[in-house]
């Protein structure tokens, strides 16, 4: 949703003439308005279901119960702590996986020997879901932070590697021809031609990696953790606190969407030549 809306903003910005500012203001409010409308719509139905008491609170809590559960978790200090713990796990796991993924993707994309030795094997790993790795991670790294980092970074790594690798394969031949006939060394060609040409794919991989970091974070925390949003969800199940569950789910969604938006905006600034 965020993607289409940003495109609209950009289109509005390229408009010329006196109507430009007005158009931009309108477009921006419309951009903000559309998702808001959708949220308000769902919230209204949700509130109606809650107010009419169609479903027992313990199964499907009303919006205000979820709100007060959020406030409660915030005030008793568990929510700030869970947020900090989960975000740091996602960030560390993402950083490890993404840097390894980009590095190895550049290698398998460029060095035939590495591609032959590792490419098919890594492709075989891709269909294995993150949650299936949790038992192995626990045996290898215990129930401490190590196993969380492993599960998250592994998932992120594969996505980022795959996109980087393919980005390298799609570097247009004409750029390489131009670069070589302009006397660039292989090193300069790699740094100033190949990597920029693959950058749009690398950023697509990083964006996917961020989304996967949050997905695998919950998988990693569902077993053997003592804090974190995923753990708190599991704990809420034991006490049948659906209000807390809803609150945590909404927070996870909002968190993932915001980080995705941030990565998208950063990527668009860096890979500025890639239009649409």
């Amino acid at each position: 949703m965020a993607v289409t809306d940003l495109r609209d903003t950009r289109r509005a910005r390229t408009r010329r003439g006196p109507a430009r500012i007005a158009a931009r203001t309108l477009a921006t409010s419309a951009d903000m308005g559309k998702p808001m409308l959708s949220f308000l719509f769902v919230l209204a139905i949700w509130a109606a279901v809650g107010a009419l008491k169609l479903v027992p609170e313990a199964i499907f809590p009303a919006p205000w119960s979820v709100w007060s559960a959020t406030v409660e978790m915030w005030q008793n200090g568990s929510l700030p702590k869970d947020l900090a713990v989960s975000c740091s796990r996602a960030a560390i796991g993402f950083t490890m996986g993404a840097s390894l993924g980009v590095a190895l993707g550049l290698l398998t994309g460029r060095v035939p020997l590495v591609r032959t030795l590792l490419g098919p094997f890594l492709s075989l790993l891709r269909p294995i879901p993150a949650i299936a790795l949790v038992p192995v991670a626990i045996v290898w790294f215990g129930i401490g932070e190590g196993s969380k980092y492993f599960v998250i970074s592994y998932t992120v790594f594969l996505a980022v590697w795959f996109n980087t690798h393919h980005g390298m394969e799609y570097v247009p031949d004409i750029y390489l021809r131009a670069s070589r006939s302009l006397g660039a060394s292989r090193r300069r060609e790699f740094l100033t031609v190949v990597i920029p040409a693959a950058a749009p794919y690398i950023f697509a991989g990083l964006r996917l990696g961020v989304a996967l970091a949050f997905l695998s974070l919950v998988a990693a925390e569902l077993s053997g953790a003592s804090s974190g949003l995923g753990y708190r969800l599991q704990e809420a199940r034991q006490y049948i606190r659906t209000d807390r569950m809803f609150s945590l789910l909404i927070i996870l969604g909002a968190l993932g969407a915001s980080v995705d938006l941030i990565v998208h905006l950063i990527g668009r600034r860096i890979v500025h030549w890639q239009q649409g």
Partner: protein, 263 residues
């Protein structure tokens, strides 16, 4: 400038190029011998698929001849090098660099101090009339402007040989005429040996010292027209000879006629 004229002697000796096809090898270029004298402008014209781009790619070092040898100033071509500049129909500008950045990319091989590199890049852009657009990215420029940046970039590298593969094929007629003038102007200054591949007979006759015509595939050179009319040429004032040659080449390029030539 005189010393430059001694460079860019291209010799193509018995070069044939075959590619592996589904039904055995396909001859893209039949055995061809051609010499491009230093500082001359040769246009290569022929029907599509006749192998003129293949010959050009071989000189550029992008394709290896199956037999024969290509030398430039006596040394064999082994892969792309800064001796041979290439202008592509699709410009091949790097979209992550500005116009100035693209030219600086070509200047990097000289290892100049930054200020000097900037000055030379600006001078190269101003030579093609783009000083006002130095800071723009290729996607902000028109087709003609992009090709002008590409010309500035390639010449900045000071190649001995300049290969142009239908460089103005994607431009409209009006822009083309402007590009012809510009090309002749910068070529007068740089005097690289030019090989210019085109579909357009008029373009070949207006620009070149030598027009070479290729046959239908498998391509070989079938005609050679040396032209000595002073530039800038125009069909209206450069004499009837140009028009006669034009008719003859158009006849050769007509599918039936050209087939008859080969067999």
């Amino acid at each position: 400038m005189d010393s430059k004229q001694l460079h860019g002697d291209v010799r193509i000796n018995d070069v044939a190029i075959t590619f592996k096809g589904k039904q055995g090898p396909v001859t893209a270029l039949d055995t061809t011998t051609l010499r491009l004298l230093p500082g001359t402008f040769t246009a290569l014209i022929g029907p599509s698929g006749c192998g003129k781009s293949t010959l050009m790619n071989a000189i550029g070092g992008f394709v290896e001849p199956s037999s024969g040898a290509i030398t430039i100033d006596g040394s064999a071509v082994r892969g792309p090098s800064e001796k041979v500049g290439v202008i592509f129909q699709q410009y091949a500008l790097f979209p992550w660099f500005t116009a100035l950045g693209n030219v600086r990319f070509a200047l990097r091989r000289f290892g100049l101090p930054k200020a000097e590199e900037m000055d030379r890049a600006r001078a190269a852009l101003s030579e093609v009339g783009l000083d006002q657009h130095a800071g723009k990215f290729p996607q902000e420029l028109s087709g003609g402007m992009k090709q002008r940046v590409a010309i500035a970039r390639t010449l900045a590298c000071e190649p001995k040989v300049l290969l142009m593969d239908e460089p103005f094929g994607a431009l409209d007629a009006q822009t083309r005429i402007g590009m012809h003038e510009l090309l002749l102007k910068v070529w007068e200054r740089h005097r690289a040996t030019v090989l210019f591949v085109t579909h357009d007979v008029d373009e070949a006759l207006l620009l070149a010292d030598d027009v070479r015509v290729m046959s239908h595939a498998p391509g070989r050179l079938i005609r050679h027209y040396p032209l000595s009319q002073p530039r800038p040429r125009a069909f209206s004032r450069s004499g009837s000879e140009l028009l006669d040659i034009r008719e003859e080449i158009l006849g050769l390029l007509r599918p039936q006629k050209a087939l008859a030539e080969v067999h």
